[in-house]
């Protein structure tokens, strides 16, 4: 690829990405939401968080067995700390620290 073609490729990737982000906002700008849309806009945010949670594990098969096992342990730890403290930041800090410590020692 020449520099010029590389730049065009980046612009294409950028424009498509921008479209995926802007499309819902442009589409529903003047439309009144139909009852079906009103219903689904209540469900989609929750389903998206469920989707994103699993999406975070999409490359898990490229990890070592130790890393997968340690991720599992630290996720359990995060869940426990969250249950007790109700603090997202604390549970993350503790869970991720344990994972990083074990993986880097």
């Amino acid at each position: 690829m020449t520099q010029y073609q590389l730049l065009i490729t980046i612009l294409i990737l950028s424009l498509v990405t921008i479209s995926t982000r802007f499309l819902p906002f442009l589409w529903f700008k003047d439309h009144k939401l139909s009852p079906w849309m009103q219903f689904s806009t209540k469900k989609i945010p929750l389903a998206s968080i469920g989707m994103l949670m699993i999406y975070g594990f999409k490359d898990v098969t490229t990890l070592s067995v130790t890393a997968i096992f340690m991720q599992l342990i630290s996720l359990i730890l995060i869940a426990i700390v969250y249950k007790i403290s109700k603090s997202t930041l604390w549970s993350l800090a503790i869970g991720v620290s344990v994972y990083l410590l074990v993986m880097n020692i």
């Binding site: 612009l11 990405t17 929750l46 389903a47 998206s48 989707m51 994103l52 699993i54 993350l92 869970g95």
Partner: protein, 225 residues
């Protein structure tokens, strides 16, 4: 007041800072070692600002020029933004340039944090979270390109912080019993697709599954009426 808002924004995005520093620096380093210029590398982060896509496009940058495959790749990797957009319509209520940047910076991480905030959160906060995440990504790309991210690369597994972030924000939502059904629908549909479909298509397929489930529930509610 302003200063306090900034502080709150930084605290909220701390896990993203850690994850982005690692991933963004890795991206800068890979681009540099593949012989790309700083301008191309930084432009890619500035204009695309979608980590998963930027990494997926690395082999493409080294191959022949295929504008159509580039389009398809970007669409398949980023189609999930449609769901984020639909979710944020009632929340992003700025006008003009403010709203433009709210939407422009709506990546996985910004969305996951913003949508976990109370409904009455100010537009300024949403914008700040987006802009902070965007800035972290730019700084990390730049630093990775310059220093070859030798330091950051040595910490193994730091990208796990983003996986953990999505997990804990999921747990936070799980506390509300009424939210559990659709959190599960999203998680199950995506797990199913991830196992049974090629990695390039699983997101699109899980979105379709989710829409089918929503449609079925809607139809059954309508029939009962």
């Amino acid at each position: 007041m302003e200063k306090q808002g900034l502080k709150q924004g930084i605290i909220l995005t701390l896990p993203v800072l850690a994850g982005y520093l690692f991933l963004g620096a890795s991206y800068g380093m890979i681009m540099q070692s593949n012989g790309h210029s700083l301008i191309i590398t930084q432009l890619s982060s500035l204009l695309i600002f979608a980590g998963a896509l930027q990494f997926a496009a690395i082999p493409m940058f080294l191959g022949a020029f295929h504008p159509f495959s580039a389009m398809l790749l970007a669409l398949l990797v980023n189609v999930r933004h449609l769901f984020y957009g639909i979710s944020m319509i009632p929340r992003y209520t700025y006008r003009h340039i403010g709203k433009f940047f709210q939407i422009y910076t709506m990546a996985d991480e910004a969305f996951s944090i913003q949508s976990s905030l109370p409904e009455d959160t100010s537009n300024k906060t949403y914008l700040l979270i987006g802009v902070l995440c965007y800035s972290y990504w730019q700084i990390a790309t730049f630093a990775g390109f310059l220093i070859g991210s030798a330091l950051i690369k040595q910490i193994e597994g730091l990208d796990f912080v983003l996986t953990a972030l999505f997990f804990v924000l999921f747990l936070q939502r799980w506390e509300h019993k009424s939210s559990r059904t659709y959190l599960s629908v999203g998680a199950c549909a995506t797990t199913f697709s991830l196992i049974f479909l090629p990695k390039s298509q699983f997101v699109l397929f899980s979105m379709i599954l989710i829409l089918i489930v929503i449609m079925l529930e809607y139809k059954s509610k309508e029939n009962r009426r």
